[in-house]
């Protein structure tokens, strides 16, 4: 054994290999766990504690394995290196995000999900139950509008098929007013209407959508440029958080300070629509509406005598500052986090308008549309 130990110096490979394994193990034991990954904009698994039940049902092993992957020393560096290796092999894709022309990152969605039909059916049932008009604004994704900026041959979500399916599903519903936003956005496709590193539209893109929605809903189009305009820089969005490859230039967020009386959120009340603190962090799009909330109410205090219910995904968050110009009170519901009853909620204000704002990717695979038809 002693001779072995002596001669082991002649095998530096052995020393390096075990040295690395032991050093990384020490990293787990010594370095405190990180709560949150800035780069990936998500919470990380901390070291789980052992209990008889979590050992028996295997949940301890699962969370320990996740912990091992998420708390590995130098994780951000390792992950960035991986992205660089993938890039170096000539691949334009990493973790399901593809790099297209002009610095655009795109979400690769290979096919229509079986959930899409269910979600469309849930919307139809909601409209059918409704005692008033329902406006359904559907945004195209960045992929569909930027078709000529995609890497050649990249599989995409067929949004035309989805539109046809929705049109057909709602054909007999008199209360349904579908507002497809593809045409208006496609007209402005060479402007900065979609972020390059994020899946959302920009404030400008939402502005064009607003004009289309306002026309369809018979609202007086208002000009947002009368309010203070600001910019936030160095925005690396959700696509970047997965892609993490080299040579990606950041986006800029444009926003307007539309004054309101108050924003009543589930846990607290705010007095503006933009959480400027978020611009210091990574999740900069989260500044709009202070991020997603199950239900929040914007009191605009315009005295116009009109109220609105919005059911939405996060695309709507930067659209709401526009709509605030046309309504007194806007109740915003995100079904992913909303725990109450939709039918009870809209019965509270029978005069208010109803607007759904979703993007196709969300309609394609979200799991919460069933809450719309809760009767």
């Amino acid at each position: 054994m002693k001779e072995n130990l002596k001669s082991i110096i002649e095998y530096p490979g052995v020393v390096i290999f075990f040295g690395l394994c032991v050093a990384m193990l020490a990293g787990y034991l010594i370095v405190p766990d990180k709560e949150y990954s800035q780069m990936e904009n998500r919470y990380l698994q901390k070291r789980p504690s052992v209990s008889a039940s979590s050992l028996a049902d295997g949940s301890f092993m699962d969370s320990f394995e996740t912990y091992t992957n998420e708390q590995v020393m130098f994780r951000d560096f390792l992950v960035k290196c991986k992205s660089a290796f993938v890039w170096a092999t000539g691949s334009v894709e990493n973790n399901g995000i593809a790099r297209g022309d002009e610095g655009f990152l795109f979400d690769k969605t290979t096919a229509i999900s079986p959930k899409a039909s269910k979600n469309i059916a849930a919307i139809r049932n909601f409209v059918r139950e409704s005692d008033r008009d329902v406006y359904i604004a559907i945004a195209p994704t960045s992929v569909w509008v930027n078709a000529d900026r995609l890497p050649t041959g990249m599989p995409v979500l067929d949004e035309v098929s989805l539109s046809n399916e929705m049109t057909l599903a709602l054909a007999d519903e008199k209360n349904a007013h579908i507002i497809y936003l593809y045409d208006i956005l496609n007209e402005h496709r060479d402007e900065y209407i979609f972020y390059r590193t994020d899946h959302h539209w920009t404030t400008k893109g939402a502005g064009y959508a607003y004009e289309e929605i306002a026309d369809e809903m018979d609202l007086d189009r208002q000009d947002i440029s009368r309010y203070d305009r600001s910019e936030a820089y160095d925005f690396y969005g959700t696509h970047y958080a997965k892609y993490k490859g080299p040579f990606v230039s950041p986006d800029t967020i444009e926003y307007y300070d539309v004054p309101i009386d108050s924003l009543e959120r589930e846990k607290d009340t705010k007095y503006d629509l933009i959480d400027t603190d978020k611009f210091d962090g990574f999740d900069k799009y989260g500044a709009f509406m202070y991020g997603n909330d199950g239900k929040c109410v914007v009191h605009a205090g315009k005295g116009l005598g009109k109220n609105l219910y919005i059911f939405k995904d996060s695309y709507a968050n930067c659209l709401i500052p526009y709509l605030v110009m046309n309504y007194d009170n806007i109740t915003v519901m995100d079904l992913r986090y909303f725990g109450g009853s939709v039918s009870e909620e809209i019965a509270k204000d029978p005069q208010a308008d109803i607007l759904l704002v979703y993007n196709w990717s969300f309609v394609n695979d979200d799991n919460h549309f069933y809450k719309l038809a809760d009767k």
Binding site: Y11, G13, C21, M24, V79, S91
Partner: protein, 473 residues
Amino acid sequence: MVFSSLLFLFWFIPIFFALYYICPAKWRNITLFAGSIVFYAWGEPSYLILIFVSILVNWAAGMAIAKFRSSHDGYYIRWEKITFVAAMIFDFGMLFVFKYTGFFVSNINSLFNTSFRDPAFTLPLGISFYTFQIASYVIDLYRGKIKEERNILTLGTYLVMFPQLIAGPIVVYSQVSEELHKREITPQKVAEGIAVFILGLSSKVLIANTVGELWKDLDLIGYERISMPLAWLGVVSFTLQIYFDFNGYSLMARGLGKMLGFDIPMNFNYPYISLSLTEFWRRWHMTLSGWFRDYVYIPLGGNRKGKIRTYVNLFIVWFLTGFWHGAGWNFICWGLFFFVLLSLEKSFLGDFLNRHRLFARLYSLLLIGLSWMIFAITDFHKLGVYFSRLVAFSSIGASSDFVYYARNYGVVIAIGCIMSASLVPGWLRGIIKPGSGVAAREIVGIAVQVVLLFMCVCYLADASYNPFLYFRF
């Protein structure tokens, strides 16, 4: 637990090997046994009991067979046979119950319109592999080729040894019986083991997982929507995925074996350079084909009982080989596909292939690739769609999907082709073998290992997709 995970690399390896190397030689088996149990139970604690029972039953059967044999009494000789048969029924019965019940229940139900309930067992991890291993012990013992193992812990260590417990190579008892009792661990062996392990890890993480993404995408897109060139790229990518996946696993097992002081046999020998399918099976999953040869084909009489019996024997072996890979009709078809082609090669095709090497190469590659489609696509309808895309000439140029995938995976596929075709020159291949004594070569070899290991760690830190194909069996 899987080898290609940070959990294995940074928790299991440092802790286990520290204990293993520090403890006195006579405690090594128990350390290895305990470590292997942790390794196995990490993913599947509930089936641990099955392994313990299997060890106990086969150990007891071995002891009984030896006891009856030593009595030299005709009465006991009969009992020797009964014990042997009972052990076989137990071993293969367990495999049958846990792996094939669902298959038979659903087929009987659809055939006779009955409604027997499928107990829906989850497949115990590694059962296909460890059943074959432990059976080799009892069979060889019964045949008088080896002596019984009196120490249940030693036999248990053989069965649960973590490098090969879950997905092989199928190490027969006689190959490691000596090392189970006394093995030497030298820095040279450990260094070699590490080199082989890193090579296997790289095969799995850098190549198999990467091209596996392509194959997964084709399924998501839907086979009916892909163009002909992309369908062929899919064949190439799955062909590479399964080789680098399984060979990667086998290399990691072999490397870990060396680090523990065992010599675990090679499982692959450049199967894709074969010039016939007969040759392919001499180079692919060699420990499995060896097992079927030694424990099925030859006992059935092999090719020594006339032509008809030879083909019947081949049929049995290939039916079983297919069925071993999975409880599904597509696996049976896959096995029979090889039965038909190997029979043809045996009767006349083999001579033709010997004379036309270029044809033989194309023939082998094409049929190996197509056989993997039968293997990979378990649904016959989808398989039909896939084959129709392979000849959908009208789709050429109609879709640019091929461009996207060729661009993303072209380099890795090319590397995979070069590596699997044994086109890497010998001096380069030898470079990562430690202990050559040439300083410059050693340094380059270690540098290659360090770079590969670093890349693997990077990929694992970001990994979302990391399946082992052979874990399903």
